[in-house]
């Protein structure tokens, strides 16, 4: 045991576990696994792979939000905007310019970096709750722009993906597994970038800003530029997941930039456990599968026979998720990861109290 523990401390076991997990996820499309009640079909079928890829995208998006909220303590209500910039940006560039996929992705990245730096610089003039409202307002402006310009963005109908310049191996139902592998690659990349940022000097300053901004300032370190850096990194990672979303769903809808969508990301992060990278990943996967299952439940037959008092709440997935979210905030401040740590051997001192404080430090 002591050998394992010392290896754990050095991270070797954790790396090995993560490697096994990624390898397992990578071979899923080749397996015929059936998990009744969780997945709609065997793991090699395109429908299931689509949902799994979506789960990975939400997990990556939650990771990108973790950079803002979990690491730096920035409560943004406009994170969906950058996801939408990725999705719509890539879609519009592909449709209008006739560039190939890779240059188009590069161009979208440049656009995302510029916009994130610009909006971030303005909204970071204020902090705390005001920051939350300002980011919300910017996202709302983006939502209005997308809805009001149907000839560019497709308006309420949404934007379809122009497949002409996309490599063949990413188009078509049979190729869903390629998209799944791409999503897996992206989430590994996002995870490593977030990990690198958290462990960099800037990441340490960002965490210090979350704990006590005044003190950072007294020490002569620049809180503004570190916050801006975290904002840009988080936003660009969100844009990358947005691009992937466009490819997977063959289009983007205005829902991707709505305030509800940002709240969904927030729900995922809190559900998984604020301040934890794995929490964000687990939250994203659990949320997507739960959302899928609850929607299936809402359409199932036995629910029609229930009296209205039960039928109406049960047939609204968002009602159940919202209630679950309230319960997690009230009774389970560390989210799923916090619960696991509490139930486990208390190997790490991450108890509920810590998680609660961690959440509160973000004010």
């Amino acid at each position: 045991m002591s050998v394992i523990r010392s290896l754990w401390a050095r991270g070797a076991v954790r790396w090995a576990l993560a490697g096994v997990l990624v390898a397992f996820a990578a071979v899923l499309p080749l397996l015929n696994l059936v998990v009744p009640g969780v997945l709609p079909g065997a793991t090699y079928t395109p429908g299931t792979l689509q949902i799994l890829a979506l789960a990975l995208i939400f997990a990556a998006l939650a990771l990108s939000y973790h950079v803002l909220f979990g690491v730096t303590g920035l409560l943004s209500f406009g994170h969906a905007l950058y996801f939408a910039i990725g999705a719509y940006g890539l879609g519009i560039i592909l449709e209008r310019t006739g560039l190939d996929l890779l240059p188009a992705v590069g161009l979208t990245l440049v656009v995302a970096i510029v916009l994130a730096a610009l909006f971030g610089a303005v909204s970071l003039r204020v902090s705390g709750i005001s920051f939350a409202m300002v980011t919300l307002a910017f996202a709302q402006a983006g939502s209005v722009l997308i809805r009001r310009n149907p000839d560019v963005t497709g308006g309420e109908e949404g934007l379809g993906l122009e497949t002409e310049h996309i490599p063949d191996w990413l188009v078509g139902v049979v190729d869903t597994r390629n998209l799944y592998w791409l999503a897996l690659g992206v989430i590994v990349l996002v995870f490593l970038v977030v990990r690198w940022f958290e462990r960099s000097r800037a990441g340490h300053v960002a965490a210090a800003v979350r704990e006590n901004e005044l003190r950072v300032r007294v020490l002569g370190l620049p809180p503004f530029s570190v916050k801006l850096l975290a904002f840009v990194i988080g936003s660009v990672l969100a844009a990358i997941t947005g691009m992937l979303y466009l490819l997977l769903q063959s289009g983007a809808t205005p829902r991707a930039v709505s305030a509800d969508f940002t709240l969904t990301i927030l729900v995922i992060v809190v559900l998984g456990g604020v301040g934890s990278r794995w929490g964000a990943v687990i939250g994203g996967v659990v949320y997507t599968l739960l959302d899928q299952r609850l929607t299936a439940l809402a359409g199932s037959e036995w629910i029609d026979d229930l009296p209205a008092v039960l039928r109406i709440p049960l047939s609204e997935p968002l009602f159940i998720l919202g209630t679950l979210f309230i319960l997690v905030v009230l009774f389970l401040p560390g989210g799923i990861v916090g619960l696991a740590a509490r139930l486990g051997r208390r190997r790490t001192p991450t108890s509920a109290g810590d998680a609660r404080d961690r959440l509160e430090e973000t004010t």
Partner: protein
């Protein structure tokens, strides 16, 4: 000229609506530091209940409108006070978690309204006079704008009088100023919390019934769409300042109307731009105090 008058008065009407939502947000934030995302749901619920009341009593009479307003105010106050008592109070002084709880409540309640009343807007009717127009200096103004402005002014005056001349008003004002001092003097400031939520909920409830007349329909999304502008108004006016919320409501709504008419429907964008400018020039808002 008549267009300017029309835009101005319609803007004032919309500003009245923003104020009814923003006043509660601003008071709650000022006293408790809670950004209440569920405020839009209070408004939507009141609008639906007001609509049901008016429908049950016959929608065309003034009596049913007054009844709808009363039901809206009462249900808004009741739900808001209940929210504070059951959810917010458990997380005393944990501001982020309080915000998260209201976010969850907003998500859950909007879904619930979807389930109960359907996602499509329900078109409403009111007293015939509200649907008519009155000519002011050559501009034909829909009458419901006057009702909105009158009610909002009444609510503003009522809240001001309450805050200035009653004992609870005194406690609330003192609490906004320095909460720990009030507690140290042996006053149970938590009762003031519930009260502030009830007042804000009542204002939002009245706003909900009036909003359904302004837009001509009720839908589960009604509160959410107004809430975002109410947030902008509270930030521009200065968080926690009631006069700030009143002034900013009017400025934002009138600007929005003019931009919508003269700049090709860009009202929402201009408002966000105004917010950005205010933040760059004066981050604490028009009437806000230095944090």
């Amino acid at each position: 000229m008549s267009t300017v008058i029309l835009l101005l008065i319609t803007g004032l009407g919309l500003g009245a609506l923003y104020f009814l939502v923003a006043s509660g947000l601003s008071l709650i934030y000022g006293l408790m530091g809670v950004l209440n995302f569920a405020h839009g749901s209070f408004l939507t619920l009141a609008a639906f209940l007001g609509w049901e009341t008016a429908r049950a009593l016959g929608a065309d009479s003034w009596g049913s409108l007054v009844a709808a307003l009363a039901v809206g105010a009462a249900s808004g106050a009741l739900v808001a006070a209940g929210t504070e008592f059951l959810l917010i109070r458990r997380l005393y002084d944990r501001h982020i978690e309080q915000v998260l709880v209201t976010v969850g409540l907003a998500l859950a309640t909007v879904a619930l309204f979807d389930g109960i009343w359907g996602t499509d807007p329900q078109f409403i009717r009111g007293p015939a006079w509200l649907a008519e127009t009155t000519e002011v200096l050559g501009a034909r103004i829909p009458n419901n704008r006057f009702l909105l402005i009158a009610v909002a002014v009444l609510v503003l005056v009522a809240i001001m009088v309450f805050l200035r001349f009653t004992r609870y008003g005194l406690v609330i004002r003192a609490g906004v100023e320095n909460r720990s001092m009030v507690t140290a003097l042996g006053i149970d400031v938590r009762r003031a919390f519930t009260l502030v939520f009830a007042i804000g909920g009542a204002a939002a409830g009245i706003g909900g019934v009036l909003a359904s007349h302004y837009f001509g329909y009720v839908s589960p999304q009604l509160g959410g769409s107004l809430l975002i502008f109410a947030f902008i108004v509270t930030v521009i006016g200065g968080l926690g300042s009631l006069p700030g919320a009143a002034v900013a409501s009017v400025v934002v709504a009138v600007l929005q109307q003019f931009a919508n008419f003269y700049l090709g429907g860009s009202g929402d964008l201009v408002v966000v731009l105004l917010l950005a400018v205010v933040l760059l020039v004066r981050p604490r808002g028009l009437f806000g105090r230095v944090a």
